[in-house]
């Protein structure tokens, strides 16, 4: 464990700190056209006609595109193909795009967009997920047959028997809100038709391969005729997977039809109006516990509002289902999860992916239960949490890696002096205006995609004749430092200096489709591929030089830019070895593939080895609540996460701090508000993400237990850091005020000194 400071290394830091980094909107192309999306004011309506004539005649307008102009398929989706490039049959939410105006300038395109009219028959808007499931409810997608997107379940043990064994049964209802990713760079794309017929796409998205799929299908061309090129991206957080690819596809369509480059730069209000969000959840949770503090049963019902299109709702809610009991061993579990269509804003992937909602529930439930049975909440956790060899609620035995739940918990308790501070909490009473509280939460998390999908990744190492190295990997630079981590891992495995390595500008035409850079899978999957490629390269080099080094291939070692034979034998420089390879007709080129180990899932029973490895995290927060105003001030936050192995230490710390900051916003500030299905806070003045003064000082405790199944030992970090601070805040607020908060974001009013009886819940 360590919190010491090292110097960070990033391949893109110099370009970014000097303003020279070229994000998509910074790229310029001759004769470039500019596009603007057209929305309607409907929330749910049957389209009769999209009237574009007036807009088409407006100054500077080159073309107005609608669904009729799509030569290939207009409908997309990674799971259900219900997303539209342009709304065709119906408008299903307020962010549906009915047309796109292409003009000589962006201003002219925006001006003309207001001239597009939509003739439509309004339909009843279904805005409540429970209403959406009632018999006879208005359907969002008629051809789907119901508003139920998907269900998941866990059936473990005997739920009735589990509750019979319990001395107490606690039941609570929780609600979480819709939140926005609020990446600093709104969606943007530019597509350029090349003389060879290929459409080149640069855009702010984190899934270049699905972008290519969407573009090719929309244009009706093969994948080989679309090249998506990696471009610096101003944040994603899961939010630039689906919708961002559609923005790219729209510009590609216009570029293909008009034979000119077409750029579309989203305004913030368009971005918030159209882009998918984190799912709001309603959770009913019932837990049975014995007097001695063992959880005997959990029954929970999860209702997720997926909004107007499917996006990845089935995958998000699957993770919620698998992790519905948090990091606790429960023998009897009955979980039913439903993802639902409504006419609200679409919900999809967001950093955390279904876990922040459930952890808000579970980490409060265990404290409520601990209080009920009269146990210290940490002791209650210890009696129930997963340990080495434990079997999870889906029947997976945790024995392939170090189960570090107690290690991260102990690290946080020690660092914060938790017990002493807990004794000082106000519990609703204090001499001053400030009520003090400390709170904690912990989680485990399945790494990468798990049984959601096929999970493998490629890397290519191509050493040039002068010994310099080109590296490319099928993971995407979202801003997190993926390219830097990949470069560091390559240099370490090859025993060469970092200065040799140049990360190639990524292209979907050169590296195989390795999936999307989400699910905290970049380092484990990409790093695995890099390491395996480097090992293959070393084998090739060893074969070429072992004769000169007078040793067996297996004895050849790589360190300090040199190739070494036996300890006292001859050595040659890396450059010399590469020269020899070219002279003897061998390419120092290697291709590495890391395939995720086997996972399994039975949809009927909700049992299986859901993820091939797990990470463990614990966070604590200290805060005060002002009795007169209800204002919460965060004083300090501390986190410990087992990352497997920290590849780029300062960037690892950056994930800790950024994740906690996002979770503080989730806990206290952020909420997408809407009225009759129309979002009302469409910019960053009214949608309030945490500012520097909203956040406390933070401590990052990096725990490293290298994973035997990961070629680098590294596991995952991006999402674990953002999934537990909100419940830690809720627990701290309880210790400060004596009151439980069951809804996010937590909004406190003035705290009366004497609590009304009904609010003294426990």
């Amino acid at each position: 464990m360590s919190a010491e400071k090292n110097k960070a290394w990033r391949n893109d830091a110099h370009a970014k700190v000097t303003g020279r980094a070229k994000f998509t909107d910074d790229l310029k192309f001759a004769r470039c056209l500019h596009a603007a999306p057209v929305y309607s004011d409907y929330v749910h309506a049957k389209i009769i006609r999209v009237v574009t004539e007036d807009a088409a005649k407006a100054p500077g307008v080159v073309k107005v595109l609608t669904a009729c102009d799509v030569p290939g398929t207009n409908r997309f989706g990674q799971i259900i193909r219900d997303f539209r490039i342009f709304a065709d049959d119906k408008i299903r939410y307020h962010g549906d795009v009915v047309a796109m105006v292409v003009g000589e300038t962006r201003d002219l395109a925006i001006r003309a967009a207001a001239l597009v009219r939509v003739e439509a028959t309004p339909l009843h808007a279904v805005l409540d997920p429970e209403e959406a499931l009632r018999p006879g409810a208005v359907l969002v997608h008629e051809q789907h047959g119901s508003n139920l997107v998907n269900t998941h379940r866990v059936r473990r043990g005997d739920i009735d028997d589990g509750f019979r064994q319990a001395d107490f049964v606690i039941e609570e209802n929780f609600r979480t809100q819709t939140i926005e990713h609020a990446y600093m760079e709104p969606e943007v794309a530019v597509s350029v038709p090349r003389p060879d017929g290929v459409i080149e796409v640069c855009g702010s998205m984190q899934h270049p391969f699905s972008t290519r799929r969407f573009v090719a299908a929309c244009l009706g061309v093969p994948l080989s005729e679309v090249e998506v090129i990696g471009t610096p991206m101003g944040g994603g957080f899961g939010g630039k997977d689906d919708t961002a690819a559609i923005v790219c596809a729209r510009t590609a369509l216009a570029a293909k039809l008009l034979g000119r480059p077409v750029k579309m730069v989203y305004r913030r209000d368009w971005s918030i109006r159209e882009s998918y969000k984190r799912h709001p959840y309603r959770v009913n949770y019932k837990m049975g516990v014995t007097k001695d503090g063992h959880i005997t049963a959990v029954q929970c019902k999860i209702l997720a509002d997926g909004g107007a299109y499917c996006s990845v709702t089935p995958w998000v809610t699957w993770r919620s289902t698998v992790q519905c009991c948090g990091p606790y061993v429960v023998e009897n579990v009955h979980c039913d999860t439903q993802g639902v269509y409504t006419n609200n804003i679409v919900a999809g992937a967001m950093r955390g992916f279904g876990s922040p909602q459930m952890n808000f529930v579970v980490e409060q439930m265990v404290e409520i239960a601990a209080k009920k049975v009269g146990l210290f909440s940490i002791e209650f956790r210890r009696r129930n949490m997963v340990r080495q060899g434990s079997v999870t609620i889906t029947g997976q035995k945790l024995d392939t890696h170090k189960v570090a739940m107690d290690e991260v918990l102990d690290a946080v308790l020690k660092e914060t002096g938790y017990e002493e501070k807990l004794a000082k909490c106000s519990h609703g009473k204090s001499a001053t205006d400030e009520l003090y509280g400390i709170g904690l939460a912990m989680s485990y998390r399945g790494v990468s995609l798990g049984a959601e999908g096929v999970d493998f990744c490629a890397a290519i190492i191509n050493v040039q004749p002068d010994g310099s190295i080109l590296l490319e990997v099928g993971v995407h630079e979202n801003g997190q430092g993926a390219e830097s981590a990949m470069s560091l891992l390559a240099a370490q495995e090859l025993g060469v200096s970092l200065g040799r390595i140049r990360y190639r500008r990524a292209s979907t035409s050169t590296v195989p489709d390795s999936g999307t850079t989400v699910a905290s899978r970049g380092t484990i999957m990409g790093g695995g591929a890099v390491t395996l490629a480097a090992r293959e390269l070393k084998q090739k080099i060893a074969e070429a030089v072992c004769e000169k080094l007078q040793c067996a291939i297996a004895d050849v070692r790589f360190a300090n830019d040199r190739i070494l034979g036996r300890t006292d034998g001859e050595t040659i420089s890396f450059d010399e070895a590469i020269r020899q390879m070219f002279q003897t007709q061998r390419f120092p080129h290697a291709f590495g593939v890391f395939r995720a180990p086997r996972v399994s899932w039975d949809e009927h029973t909700g049992q299986g080895d859901a993820y091939f490895t797990w990470v463990y995290g614990c966070q604590a927060v200290e805060l005060t609540v002002n009795k007169k105003t209800g204002k919460v001030k965060l004083l300090h936050a501390t986190a410990a996460h087992d990352v497997g192995r920290a590849v780029n230490r300062e960037m690892v710390r950056g994930q800790f701090f950024g994740g906690m900051a996002m979770a503080a916003g989730y806990g206290l500030h952020e909420e997408i508000n809407s009225k009759d299905g129309r979002i009302t806070n469409l910019n960053l003045n009214t949608y309030r993400i945490p500012r520097a003064m909203d956040l406390p000082e933070m401590t990052a405790l990096i725990v490293e237990n290298p994973d035997p199944q990961s070629p680098t030992g590294a596991k995952a970090l991006g999402e674990p850091t953002t999934e537990i601070l909100a419940p830690a805040i809720a627990n701290a607020i309880y210790h400060a005020t004596g009151k439980r908060e069951f809804a996010l974001p937590i909004k406190l009013s003035a705290q009366p000194e004497e609590l009304p009886e009904e609010e003294c819940r426990l």
Binding site: K5, T18, K28, L684, M693
Partner: protein, 162 residues
């Protein structure tokens, strides 16, 4: 109309005065370090310094800055490319992730350190409070500003600008 931009003098036509400053810098001068992320002065990604004071230029016009000293992120490093000590600190402290807020953040910090080279962390928080970052939680940005402060001790505003 004259612009004093990054130590250079620039003559621009009067008609340009009505243009949005962020677009003028980005589109006409290819100074794309200033980013446009909200259009209403809410996020700070477009920040420049005007006479050493931060200014959000998505809500300003070219004429608003005529005759004043303008510093954009492109003017922070030395002409030979050597990073300003503040930029160097951003790099070394891990203050950069996606980098979209970085130019504005560096400039706001620069203006602040010119006035206060012995800041507390709370003072730094206050100074950068108008600039949003979604990646870092600000922690390492504050580290970087704290670390760079020593380079501003005893420096006049002009001298601190390499």
């Amino acid at each position: 109309m004259r612009l004093h931009l990054n130590g250079r003098e620039l003559e621009v036509a009067e008609a340009v005065g009505e243009r949005r400053l962020v677009e003028f810098l980005r589109d006409e001068l290819d100074l794309t370090g200033a980013k446009n992320a909200c259009d209403i002065g809410a996020c700070g990604a477009c920040t420049i310094l005007l006479d050493d004071e931060p200014m959000k230029i998505c809500i300003k016009r070219v004429k608003d800055v005529a005759g004043h000293r303008i510093l954009t992120i492109e003017g922070m490093a030395a002409p030979d490319g050597t990073l300003h000590p503040l930029q160097q600190a951003f790099v070394e402290c891990g203050a950069i992730q996606c980098g979209f807020c970085t130019p504005g953040m560096v400039l706001v910090a620069h203006a602040f350190l010119l006035k206060n080279p012995r800041p507390t962390r709370d003072q730094i928080r206050k100074a950068i409070n108008g600039n949003l970052c979604r990646c870092t939680g600000y922690h390492q940005i504050i580290d970087a500003i704290e670390e760079a402060a020593v380079h501003y001790l005893g420096a006049t505003a002009a001298a601190a600008r390499v």
